[in-house]
C-alpha cells in the first residue's frame, strides 16, 4: 500500500501549496502556518507527512526528497481514529443494550472463573488482603512454570492466589470434586502452611531473644499505651465536667431561701470561683 493518498480536491487545488513549500524549505527562516491538514479541529499533519512531501516534490518546491521519504512511503502508518468492534469477552444477548450502536464499540469487561473464587476467598479471609504482594513478572511465562498439584510453588509466595489456583486444579483434575470440597481441601493446606510460618516466626523470636536481641513494643503494647493515654485525658475531662455539674447543682439549691442564705450563696460563689482561677 505504497500509493499516495493525495487525491483529495482540497490538497490538489490548494493555492497556498507554494507558500507551504516555502515555509518547509530549509533555506527559508520564516514559517507560514497553513491549515491544509486540519479536520474538525484535529491536526492531521503528522499523519500526512508523506503526502505533503510528495506534493512538495511534485511542485518542485523542494529539489530533493528527505532521507525518510522512501521508508515512510513503503511503511504506511496504521489507521487511526476509526472504531472497531471490540474483543468479545462474553456472549451477546439478543436483547441486551450492548447491541446498540452507542454501546457496541465500548471495550468489554474481562472476567475469569478465578474471579468468583477470589471474591469468595477474600470475603472469608479479609486480612489476607493486608499482606503486601509483589506483582513483578520475570519473563511473562511465570504462570506456565507452576504445577498446582501442590499448593507450594518454587519462587512464588504463599497467598490467596495459590489457594485459588489449587482449588481450580482440584476441580479440573480430580474427578468427583465439588466446589465446596475443593475449596476446603485447598484452604486446609493453606492454613497448615500459614501455621507453620507462624511457628517459625515465634521460634525465630525466641532464638533472637536468647542470643541477646531486644524487641520494641508489640502492636498490643502500643495499642494499650494509646488507650491508657486517651483514658487519662478522658479522666481529666470527666473530673472537670463533674465539678462543673456539682457547682451548678449547688448554685441551684442555694437559689431559694432568705438573705442570710444569699450571703451564703455569695461566699459559696467566691469559694467556687477561687479554684477556677489557676
Amino acid at each position: 500500500m505504497g500509493t499516495k493518498e493525495g487525491h483529495e480536491p482540497s490538497d490538489i487545488v490548494d493555492p497556498d501549496v507554494t507558500i507551504a513549500a516555502e515555509a518547509l524549505n530549509p533555506e527559508n527562516s520564516f514559517g507560514i502556518h497553513r491549515r491544509g491538514a486540519v479536520m474538525r479541529g484535529l491536526n492531521l499533519k503528522p499523519s500526512r507527512v508523506f503526502q505533503t512531501a510528495s506534493l512538495l516534490l511534485e511542485s518542485q518546491s523542494i529539489s530533493q526528497a528527505p532521507p525518510w521519504f522512501k521508508t515512510i512511503g513503503s511503511i504506511p502508518p496504521g489507521e487511526i481514529m476509526t472504531r472497531t468492534q471490540p474483543v468479545q469477552h462474553r456472549d451477546s444477548n439478543r436483547k441486551s443494550r450492548t447491541r446498540k450502536p452507542s454501546k457496541m464499540f465500548k471495550p468489554q469487561l474481562i472476567e475469569y472463573e478465578e474471579d468468583r473464587l477470589r471474591r469468595e476467598f477474600y470475603r472469608d479471609h479479609p486480612w489476607e488482603l493486608a499482606r503486601p504482594r509483589i506483582v513483578l513478572e520475570n519473563d511473562g511465562k511465570d504462570a506456565q512454570k507452576c504445577d498446582w498439584s501442590r499448593i507450594q510453588q518454587p519462587g512464588r509466595p504463599l497467598t490467596g492466589e495459590s489457594v485459588i489456583q489449587r482449588q481450580l486444579w482440584l476441580l479440573n483434575n480430580v474427578p468427583g470434586m465439588s466446589n465446596a470440597q475443593a475449596y476446603d481441601v485447598a484452604r486446609r493446606e493453606f492454613y497448615a502452611l500459614r501455621h507453620e510460618e507462624e511457628v517459625e516466626r515465634r521460634i525465630a523470636r525466641e532464638e533472637a531473644s536468647w542470643t541477646g536481641a531486644y524487641f520494641g513494643k508489640s502492636a498490643i503494647d502500643v495499642g494499650m499505651e494509646l488507650e491508657d493515654k486517651t483514658y487519662e485525658s478522658w479522666k481529666a475531662w470527666a473530673t472537670r465536667e463533674a465539678e462543673a455539674i456539682d457547682l451548678q447543682r449547688n448554685a441551684a439549691y442555694t437559689g431559694l431561701g432568705t438573705g442570710s442564705e444569699e450571703e451564703e450563696v455569695e461566699t459559696e460563689v467566691d469559694a467556687a470561683e477561687e479554684p477556677a482561677l489557676p
Partner: protein, 436 residues
Amino acid sequence: MKSIEQEMCWMKICSISDDAVRASENATSADSFNLESSQVDIRQHSRSTMILRNVAIRHGRKALAAPTPRSLLRTLTTETLVEDREAIEHSIDNHWKETGANLNQLYTTNALHPTRDPSESIKKVQKDFILRQHIKKRTSHIGSNITPHYEPHQLLINPPRPEDVTLELLMASQSHLGHATSLWNPMNQRYIYGVRQGVHIISLEVTAAHLRRAAKVVEGVAYHGGLILFVGTRPGQAASVVKAAKLAQGCHLFEKWIPGTITNGDQILAKCEVKVVDGLDKKVEGFEEKAAEWKALRPDLVVVLNPRENYILLHECGLNNIPTVGVIDTDADPTWVTYPVPANDDSLRCIQVIAGVLGRAGEAGQKKRLEAAKKGDITWLPPPGLGKPKEEEEKENKAAGPGEPKGKGVELNADEVESGRRSRPGSRGLEEEDDD
C-alpha cells in the same frame, strides 16, 4: 564497641562541611561543646540509619524483628518510634558483641560501577583486569545455579531487538496497563483489549505490531542516513533515551524541549557546530566556511517516549513535516504522532523495552548503511547547496576561467560528501538541549 564508635566518629568528621570545621577551630570552649554535642547527635542519627541499611542488606528482613507495623506508625507519637530504633540498635550491638562482626565487612553499593583512582598506572589496571578475569573463570561455576530472572539493568545494558519482541515480554513489562476507563481518549478504542479492575487493557498484539512497524521505520531512516532524535523527558527515562540514541547514532533529549528549537533553530542552536562527513562517516576537510554558516539541523525522525508532555515538540515537527514515533497510552492523542505505539507510558520497564527495541533497530540500520558504503553504495544524497570542498571548487573556477564563475550546483556525486548529518561528538547539534 569503642573502636567502632571511634571509626564512626572519623567517618562523620570527614563529611562535615568546611564551614563547620572552621567554626569549630575558631569557637570558644562553650561553642565547641555545643558543636560537639550536635556532632554527636548527627553521628547517632547517621549511625542508626547506616546500620539499619547495612543490616537490611546483610541479614534481610528477619534481622529487623518485630517492628511496629507500618499501618500503625501514623497513630504513634514520636516517643514510641525512638524507643523502637533504640531497641533495634541495642539488639544489633549485642549481635556484634556475640558474633564479633566487624564494621568493615558491611558495605553499601551505591553505583553500578566502582570508582577508580585516575592516577593508577595503566599497567596496574591491566594487571587487576587480568586477575579479575582469572578469578571469574575459576569461580563463576561454583555455587548454585540461579534460574533466569528479571534483571532490570539488562534492559539498559543489552536491550532487546525487534526480533525478540514477544507478547510475554510486553506483558511482563506492564505495557498492557492503560489508564482509568473514565480518562480514556475514545480515539484509542481500536487498541484496547478490554476493561479489568477499572483500567483499560491495551491489546498486546496491537502493541507488538505497532512496535515492529516503528522499528522498521527507524531502521529504514537510519539506513538512508537520517538524523534520529530520541526524546524522553520524564524522570527515569534518561538512561534508556541516551542508550537508544547511542545505538542508533542519533541525538537524545531528556530535559525540557525548548520551544522553537526547530522553528527558531538558528537562534536556539546557535552554539551548535556542524561538520561534513563522507559515506564512511569520516570528516571531510574543505567545508569549514560552509559548515560555520550552515543552518541549524533538523531531525529526520523524532521518537517521543512521553508525547503527552511534549506537545510543543510534536507540533513543531508537524509544522516542519518531520515524521514522529510516539508511545500512546489510552489517554493520549494518536493524531499527534505519525506512528503511534500503543503502550503504557507510565511504566519505566515498558519504556526501556520500547526505547531499546527502537535503538537496536537504528543500530541495525546504521550497520547496513556502513556495510553498503564500504562496498561503494552510498544510500543517501547530500543536501542541496552543499557543493564541493573549497579546494576543488577553486580548481573548477580556475579551469572554467575567470570570466565564468561556477555557481553552487547541486552536488549529486554522493561519493563525496554529506553535510550536517552529523555533529561533533562533544555534545553538539541537537544534543545541546540536554545541557539545560
